[in-house]
C-alpha cells in the first residue's frame, strides 16, 4: 500500500483533477484518458447508429426490385457515407475508446504520455466528423464511394462540393489519427510499470501498438493522395488528369497503400480484445501468447505489401499480380495461427459463457468466414470474377462486422463494468448477441450468392427476373434484425447506467492490471504503481503460476515526486475549432481559411507554452531510456518518411510525362539550388551548435546559433521564393503541366516544413531571450533540432533526385 505521505499526495492530485467537475466545461477541457475514452466511445457509437441507419436505407431500397425509397443520387450518397462513417467515424474511434480507457490501466500508467495531445486528437476527430456530416445539412453529401476513385472525384465529374466535404474531412480525421497514434506508441513503449517488459504486455496492448504503427506509417500515402486531389479540384493541377499525362492508377495505389493496412487497423484491436476475453472466461492463459504476438506483428508488416490485390482488375501484369497474390496468401498464415491459438485457449478450459465470451467466440467463427473469402480474392483469376460484385460486399462485412464490430461488442461487455462501475444485464445481453449474430449472418451470407449470381455492388435497383429477388429480400430482413440487435444494446446500456448492479473491482476474476483498481478507477488510476509479476500479472498475484506457486509480494511503487496530473486545457478545443473553420472556409471563402489557420497557429503556440509551463509529467524519461518527446518526434519522422517518400515517388513516376513545356532541363537552375543546399546544410551545423550551447548553459552562444539557424532557414526560403517567382515568369505554374504540379507541390511542402521549423526556432529564441530556456529545457531544443535536420535530409534527397538527375 502507499505510504501515508504518498496517500496524501494522491488525495491532492485526485482533488486537483476532480476539480474539473462534471459540467460541460469540464468535459470540454478534460485531459483525463478515461474521460477522453468515454468521449470517443459515445461519439463513435452515435455515428455507428447513423451509419447503421444509412445501411438500413440501402437495404430497404434493395428489398424488392424497382423500389423507389430513395433516388439513385441519394443512394450513391448513402453507400458513400455509410462506408466512410463506419470506417472512420465508428469502428476506428470505438477502438480508440478502448485504447484511451484501457491501455494506460493495463500497463500500470496514470495517463498517456501526452494527455493534452490526446484531447486534441479527440476534438480534431469530432471536428472532422461533424464537418463530413454537415454535408447532409447543405444537401451535398459525398457520393463518389468511400474509396473515391479518381477521376470520378475530379472537378469535371464531381463539380459540386460533395467530394470536397469528403476529402477535407478525411484530411482532418487523418491528422487526428496520426496524433493519437504517436501518443500511444510513446505511451506503450515508455510508460509501462516497472517489470512489465514488452513480452509481458497484455495482448490488447500489443495489438494496439501494432495498430498505432500501422496508422503512423499508412496514413501519409492517402494524405498525399488527398492533397493531390485537393490541388486538382481547388487549384487546377493535373495529378489525376489523363489528358495532361496523369495516371489514374496513382490514386488507386496511394489509396490502397493506406487502405489495406487500414483493414488491419480496424481488425487488430478486435484480435487484441478477443485475446483478453477468451483466457479470462476459459480460466486459462492464452495458448502460445508469444506466437500470437509475433503473428500480430507479422500481419502488420505483411499488410504493407499486399495493397495491389485490390487492383488486380486494372491490369498490372503477371509479375506484379503474382507478387501481390503470393503476399496476400502469406498473410493468411499468421492470421490462421491466431485462430488456432484462440481455439486451443478455449480447449479444455473451464468456460464461463458470459456475453463477452459469446462475442469473442463469435468473432473466431465469423472472422474465419471473412478470412477464407479473403484468401479467395488473393487469386487474380478468381478475384476478376468476384470484383465489384456483392461477393466482395459480403467478404468485407464478414471482416468488419464479423471481426471488428463483434470484437468491439466483446470489449464493451467485458470492460463496461470497469468503465462505468455498473454491470450489464447478461440475460438481455445474450438475446442481444443472438439478434446481432443471426441478423448479421442472414443479412450478409446471402450476399455471397448474390455476387456469384452476378449482382454488381452499388447498383441502386434491379429488375424482376434477375434471380436476385429472394436473396435481396432475405438480406434486407437480416439487416433489420441486426439493427434491432444494435439498438437493444443502447437499451441495455441505458438500464445499466440507471440501475445496473454495482460492479466490483474484478467482476470477471480477470488476469490483467486494469482489474486491480476500482470500477471505475480513481482519477489517478492507481494509488501506487502496481507490481508486475509476469504476463497475466494480476492472475499470478491472485493464484500464482501454473503450479499454484504465488510470487513473493512486491511493494507497490509510490511516485517519488507524488502524483502529478496535468491540468485541464481548452487549447485542444480551440485548435480543433481553427481546423474546422479552415475546412469550412475551403468551401466558402478564403478569408475563413486564413482565420481558421490563424486560430490554429495561435492555439498551437498557446498549447506548446502550456506544456512548457506545466509539463504533463514530472519525469519524462521512460522505459526505453528516452524522453517521451524525443521518442514521439522520431516516430513522427518515420511517418514523414512515408509522406515525402510518396511525394518524391510521384514526382519521379510522372517525370517526362508532361505533354507541354516547360520541362525540367529547360528551367531548373542547378547552380542557384546548389547555393541554397549549402545554406540549408550549414543551418544544420548551426542547429547542433545551438543545442550544444543550451546543454552547457551558454546563453550567449545558444541565442547566437538559434538566431543563425533561423536566419539560414529564412535565406533558404528566400532562395525558394526567388526560384518560384522566376519559374512563374518563365511560364511554369502549378497548372501549366504535370511537371509544374509535381514540382511545386513537392518543393512547396518542403518549404512549408522549413517555414514551420523557422517559426519553431524563433519561438525557442524568444524563450531563451526571456530567460526561460534552462539546461533542463535542452530536450525541447533537441526535439526541434531533430525536426530541422530531417527537413535538411529531405532536401538532400530532393536536390539529388529532382535537380541533379538528368
Amino acid at each position: 500500500m502507499a505510504t501515508h505521505e504518498a496517500a496524501l499526495r494522491t488525495h491532492d492530485a485526485a482533488h486537483a483533477r476532480a476539480a474539473e467537475g462534471s459540467g460541460v466545461l469540464a468535459w470540454l477541457t478534460t485531459v483525463d484518458h478515461k474521460r477522453i475514452g468515454i468521449l470517443y466511445g459515445s461519439t463513435a457509437f452515435a455515428f455507428l447508429l447513423i451509419g447503421g441507419l444509412e445501411a438500413l436505407l440501402i437495404r430497404t431500397q434493395l428489398l424488392r426490385p424497382h423500389m423507389g425509397v430513395v433516388s439513385a443520387q441519394t443512394y450513391n450518397a448513402l453507400f458513400t457515407m455509410h462506408g466512410t462513417t463506419m470506417i472512420f467515424l465508428a469502428v476506428m474511434p470505438l477502438n480508440a475508446a478502448f485504447f484511451n480507457y484501457i491501455v494506460p490501466l493495463m500497463i500500470g500508467a496514470r495517463d498517456v504520455a501526452f494527455p493534452r495531445l490526446n484531447a486534441l486528437s479527440y476534438w480534431i476527430f469530432l471536428a472532422g466528423a461533424l464537418f463530413l456530416n454537415a454535408s447532409f445539412l447543405v444537401g451535398t453529401p459525398p457520393d463518389a464511394g468511400w474509396f473515391g476513385y479518381a477521376n470520378l472525384t475530379t472537378r469535371p465529374f464531381s463539380p459540386g462540393p460533395n467530394v470536397d466535404f469528403w476529402l477535407l474531412s478525411l484530411q482532418v480525421l487523418g491528422a487526428s489519427s496520426v496524433i493519437a497514434a504517436v501518443n500511444f506508441i510513446v505511451t506503450i513503449l515508455n510508460m509501462r510499470a516497472p517489470g512489465m517488459t514488452l513480452m509481458r504486455m497484455p495482448l490488447f496492448v500489443w495489438m494496439t501498438l501494432v495498430t498505432q504503427f500501422l496508422i503512423v506509417l499508412a496514413f501519409p500515402s492517402v494524405t498525399v493522395g488527398l492533397i493531390f486531389l485537393m490541388f486538382d479540384r481547388f487549384l487546377g493541377t493535373h495529378f489525376y488528369d489523363v489528358a495532361a499525362g496523369g495516371d489514374l492508377h496513382l490514386w488507386q495505389h496511394l489509396f490502397w497503400i493506406f487502405g489495406h493496412p487500414e483493414v488491419y487497423i480496424l481488425i487488430l484491436p478486435a484480435f487484441g480484445i478477443v485475446s483478453e476475453v477468451l483466457p479470462t472466461f476459459s480460466r486459462k492463459p492464452l495458448f502460445g501468447a508469444p506466437v500470437v504476438i509475433y503473428s500480430g506483428v507479422l500481419i502488420g508488416f505483411f499488410g504493407f505489401g499486399v495493397w495491389s490485390h485490390h487492383m488486380f482488375a486494372v491490369g498490372m501484369g503477371p509479375v506484379a499480380d503474382a507478387a501481390f497474390s503470393i503476399a496476400t496468401m502469406l498473410i493468411a498464415v499468421p492470421t490462421g495461427v491466431k485462430i488456432f491459438n484462440w481455439l486451443a485457449t478455449m480447449w479444455g478450459g473451464r468456460i464461463r459463457p458470459t456475453v463477452a465470451f459469446h462475442y469473442a467466440a463469435g468473432l473466431v467463427a465469423l472472422f474465419t468466414i471473412g478470412g477464407l473469402s479473403g484468401v479467395m480474392h488473393a487469386s487474380p483469376p478468381v478475384d476478376l470474377q468476384q470484383h465489384d460484385s456483392y461477393f466482395v460486399v459480403a467478404h468485407m462485412h464478414y471482416v468488419l462486422i464479423g471481426g471488428s464490430l463483434i470484437g468491439i461488442f466483446a470489449g464493451l461487455y467485458y470492460w463496461w463494468p470497469k468503465m462505468t462501475g455498473r454491470m450489464l444485464d447478461e440475460r438481455l445481453g445474450r438475446l442481444q448477441f443472438w439478434l446481432v449474430v443471426l441478423g448479421f449472418n442472414v443479412a450478409f451470407f446471402p450476399q455471397h450468392f448474390l455476387g456469384a449470381l452476378g449482382m454488381p455492388r452499388r447498383i441502386y435497383t434491379y429488375g424482376v427476373g434477375s434471380g436476385w429477388e429472394l436473396w435481396n429480400l432475405v438480406s434486407s430482413v437480416g439487416a433489420y434484425v441486426l439493427g434491432i440487435g444494435v439498438l437493444l444494446f443502447v437499451l441495455i446500456a441505458a438500464r445499466s447506467l440507471r440501475s445496473g448492479p454495482r460492479a466490483p473491482a474484478d467482476p470477471w476474476d480477470a488476469r490483467t492490471l486494469e482489474w486491480r483498481t476500482s470500477s471505475p478507477p480513481p482519477v489517478h488510476d492507481f494509488d501506487a504503481i502496481p507490481p508486475v509479476y509476469g504476463r497475466d500479472s494480476f492472475w499470478r498475484e491472485k493464484y500464482g503460476d501454473a503450479r499454484g506457486r504465488k510470487p513473493a509480494p512486491r511493494p507497490e511503487t509510490p511516485d517519488p515526486h507524488g502524483i502529478h496530473l496535468p491540468s485541464p486545457s481548452f487549447w485542444p478545443v480551440v485548435i480543433a475549432l481553427g481546423i474546422g473553420t479552415a475546412a469550412v472556409g475551403a468551401l466558402l471563402h478564403t478569408a475563413l481559411v486564413v482565420i481558421g489557420a490563424g486560430i490554429t497557429v495561435v492555439g498551437a503556440f498557446a498549447f506548446a507554452l502550456q506544456h512548457h509551463r506545466d509539463p504533463a509529467h514530472v519525469v519524462q524519461i521512460g522505459n526505453l531510456g528516452v524522453d517521451h518527446r524525443k521518442l514521439a518526434m522520431w516516430v513522427f519522422l518515420g511517418s514523414e518518411c512515408f509522406f515525402f517518400g510518396t511525394l518524391i515517388a510521384t514526382y519521379i513516376a510522372y517525370k517526362g510525362r508532361s505533354v507541354v513545356g516547360p520541362l525540367p532541363h529547360e528551367i531548373l537552375n542547378i547552380p542557384l539550388t546548389t547555393l541554397s543546399t549549402f545554406d540549408l546544410l550549414m543551418s544544420s551545423l548551426l542547429m547542433v551548435l545551438a543545442l550544444a550551447a543550451v546543454q552547457r548553459d551558454d546563453r550567449a552562444q545558444s541565442r547566437l546559433w538559434l538566431a543563425g539557424t533561423a536566419l539560414f532557414g529564412l535565406i533558404f526560403l528566400g532562395f525558394q521564393a526567388y526560384e518560384f517567382t522566376h519559374f512563374v515568369h518563365e511560364g511554369l505554374t502549378l497548372q501549366s503541366n504535370l511537371f509544374g504540379s509535381t514540382f511545386f507541390v513537392l518543393t512547396g511542402f518542403h518549404g512549408g516544413h522549413v517555414t514551420l521549423g523557422v517559426l519553431w526556432l524563433l519561438a525557442l529564441l524568444v524563450l531563451d531571450l526571456r530567460g526561460r530556456l534552462a539546461v533542463s529545457d535542452s530536450i525541447k531544443v533537441e526535439v526541434a533540432a531533430l525536426y530541422w535536420h530531417f527537413v535538411d535530409i529531405v532536401w538532400i534527397v530532393i536536390f539529388t533526385l529532382v535537380y541533379l538527375l538528368p
Binding site: A649, I652, D792
Partner: protein, 104 residues
C-alpha cells in the same frame, strides 16, 4: 529483460566532429554539382549521385541527429520506417512510372 527507468545520458559528438561533418557535407555537395558536368561520368552518374546523396543523408542522421550515439530503438524505428517507405516508393514508381520493370 531489464529496462532502465532513469534517464540514460548519451554522449554526443564534439564540436570539432560537427564542424568536420559540415566540411564533408560541403565537399560532397560540391562534388555532386561538379560530376553532372563531366560527360565521361554520364554512364555512372545515377549510381554515383545516389551514393553521394546517401552518404550525406547518413552523415546528418548519424551525427547531427545523434543516432550514432542515441538509444538503439530510435535507430530501429527510423531505419525500419525509412526502408519500408523506400520500398513502397520504389514499388509505386515501378507500377505507375514510365520505366516499368514489369511488362503489363
Amino acid at each position: 529483460m531489464t529496462e532502465p527507468l532513469q534517464a540514460t545520458q548519451h554522449e554526443h559528438a564534439s564540436i570539432g566532429t560537427y564542424v568536420r561533418v559540415a566540411v564533408i557535407l560541403c565537399i560532397v555537395t560540391a562534388l555532386e554539382f561538379t560530376v553532372i558536368y563531366i560527360r565521361r561520368l554520364t554512364p555512372i552518374l545515377l549510381p554515383l549521385l545516389l551514393v553521394l546523396s546517401a552518404g550525406k543523408f547518413a552523415l546528418v542522421v548519424m551525427f547531427y541527429m545523434h543516432l550514432r550515439y542515441d538509444a538503439k530503438p530510435l535507430t530501429f524505428f527510423f531505419v525500419s520506417a525509412l526502408l519500408l517507405a523506400s520500398g513502397i516508393a520504389l514499388a509505386l514508381m515501378t507500377l505507375t512510372g514510365d520505366f516499368l520493370v514489369f511488362k503489363r
